[in-house]
């Protein structure tokens, strides 16, 4: 069994009118089966309302499936007694860093998680240091979070999750509010955690250029997994992605347009170097 596994997961919620009568039932997640291996880097994309965030919240026991089961490291998330262990195993980072930072000083904020877990003080400091180093924010440990840039704040949020020693990190659009540099910083930090620390990463994003680093991509539509594959397999299907309100990286789009104009190119080109090689025959 993988680090995160879902079997037939469905999540429904009820919309009531002003009198409190049931108006309709919305199926936000519809019979999703996933099996994510330890150490994998998985990206989940999908249009607004496709169910990707609702799905991600199941991995952290914020929501429980209406039907089906979610296991995090073998623990059933619907069991009340598992909740704390599930959240410690699969840490979550949200879109807006300002909603996640509580400490007055960076290192204090990062220490909040392990402190709540009852970790001895000396070990808390060790964890704070290693987590801040892992995201490249150790130099800012004495700073006030309010004076940091968006990318730096988001890296502090990630360090706060790391300090709880999770096996898996779920990031729900962590770069949506950041400038280009902030996006780069965060993605670099996330890839580092995956490659160096071997932490499983589940990245939810609207930026297609962040997806190319993933081992596997899931495309969600109407609560279901509509497409799954490696970034190359997914981005080979430009037209299908457009139907799903998605996009491809600009290099993939450029190659796709050139191909339509009669240039001999394979599908799913992901880097400029690849494109240059095919075009010049070098």
């Amino acid at each position: 069994m993988g680090i995160v596994k879902t079997s037939d997961v469905t999540y429904e919620y009820i919309v009531r009118n002003e009198e409190g009568n049931v108006e309709r039932i919305v199926t936000a997640v519809d019979q999703v089966d996933l099996d994510i291996a330890p150490g994998e880097f998985v990206a989940i994309v999908g249009h607004n309302g496709s169910g990707k965030s609702t799905l991600a919240k199941q991995f952290n026991a914020i929501l429980h499936p209406t039907e089906g089961t979610v296991w995090v490291d073998g623990m059933d998330t619907a069991q009340e007694e598992n909740v704390w262990n599930v959240r410690q195993t699969a840490g979550m980072v949200f879109q807006n860093p300002d909603n996640q930072i509580i400490g007055q000083v960076v290192e204090e904020d990062v220490g909040f998680g392990p402190e709540n877990m009852g970790i001895p003080t000396r070990e808390i400091w060790e964890r704070v240091e290693e987590s801040l180093r892992a995201v490249g924010m150790y130099a800012y440990r004495k700073h006030s979070p309010s004076r940091l840039s968006g990318g730096q704040k988001q890296r502090v949020s990630i360090a706060g999750v790391l300090a709880m020693h999770p096996k898996c990190i779920v990031l729900d659009e962590p770069t949506a509010m950041l400038d280009p540099n902030g996006r780069k910083e965060v993605i670099r930090a996330v890839r580092g955690l995956n490659q160096v620390e071997g932490i499983t990463v589940i990245l939810i994003t609207h930026y297609m250029e962040e997806v190319i680093y993933a081992d596997r991509v899931f495309v969600m539509d109407q609560g279901k997994v509509a497409m799954t594959g490696t970034p190359r397999e997914i981005f080979s299907q430009v037209e299908r992605l457009k139907e799903l309100r998605m996009d491809v990286p600009q290099v993939t789009l450029l190659a796709h347009e050139l191909k339509k104009r009669g240039v001999a190119l394979p599908d799913g080109i992901l880097t400029a170097e690849e494109l240059a090689e095919y075009l010049t025959g070098a």
Partner: protein, 288 residues
């Protein structure tokens, strides 16, 4: 000339030890009907800049003229200015509050003291301008999708009939199709009504695709001001201040290094396709 900023300075918490200069000697002109992109990293002064244009913030020194009139003049009607210069904040859907979309859009013009008929006409027109489907007019704004909510909020500002529309990251958090739809709609609005549009964005690709002119803010000053292809030529300098060029710029530079004679100033995928096709034709001729 619709807006002139003349040596505008703004200092947060002036006359205290915490004083921070957020705008430094900014001189800019925005012509009528222009579509301008404003870029800069977090904290570069973009938001402070746009909040000056409708009088939300008052410059510490310097002048701002709207249609030739000094907006800091004692006689000047700044309430009117706010209806002429519409500002759409980040995540504007957080400001929706009415029971249905139509009433929400009516709120602004109603507060201008217009008659019921005029208010409703304006709301209808504004909702059409943002491409809101008719069947959603009487839905609760809270039941709409993210993209539709954003449209409703923008319509609320449009119903004030502004001459200048300023949008602070109108596509943050939207899916790629939603981004294209909103920006396409705004472009259409600019072309059809001649409205001046100022777009603050973190997406270099979006800016390159839609605007005619880019202003780059850095540490409270204007660093570059020009057409996208001129501004993105400085991509190394842009990287140093936390920005970047659109992905195509990097792709074209990398193709050029490999020996394809492409125009590296192209900033959109459409332009890139053309220059690559031409370069390929030349390349094949010389390598035959």
């Amino acid at each position: 000339m619709s807006i002139i900023m003349d040596h505008v300075n703004y200092i947060y918490e002036a006359d205290t030890p915490m004083a921070v200069a957020a705008l430094k000697d900014v001189c800019l002109e925005f012509a009528e009907g222009e579509f301008v992109g404003i870029i800069g990293h977090t904290g570069s002064g973009k938001s402070t800049l746009i909040q000056h244009l409708n009088g939300l913030l008052k410059a510490t020194s310097g002048h701002i003229y709207f249609h030739g009139e000094d907006i800091y003049d004692k006689e000047y009607d700044r309430k009117k200015l706010r209806s002429k210069v519409g500002l759409v904040f980040q995540y504007p859907e957080h400001q929706l509050f009415e029971v249905d979309v139509f009433s929400d859009v009516c709120f602004g013009p109603k507060n201008l003291g217009l008659g019921k008929k005029e208010v409703e006409l304006r709301a209808y027109e504004a909702l059409r301008q943002v491409g809101m489907p008719d069947e959603l007019f009487y839905q609760s704004p809270f039941e709409l999708s993210g993209g539709q909510k954003r449209r409703a909020a923008i319509a609320g500002v449009l119903a004030m009939k502004p001459e200048v529309l300023i949008l602070d990251e109108p596509t943050a958090g939207l899916d790629p199709k939603g981004r294209d739809e909103i920006l396409g709609q705004i472009k259409k609005l600019q072309q059809e009504t001649g409205m001046t549009i100022l777009l603050v964005s973190h997406s270099m690709e979006d800016v390159a695709e839609y605007v005619d002119r880019i202003i780059v803010m850095n540490q409270g000053s204007v660093l570059y001001d020009g057409q996208p292809r001129e501004v993105f030529r400085h991509y190394r300098e842009l990287e140093e201040i936390g920005l970047a060029a659109p992905q195509v710029t990097y792709i074209l530079h990398s193709l050029k290094e490999k020996g394809l004679d492409v125009d590296v100033d192209a900033t959109t995928v459409g332009e890139a396709v053309e220059t690559v096709m031409q370069a390929l034709a030349r390349f094949r001729k010389t390598n035959l």
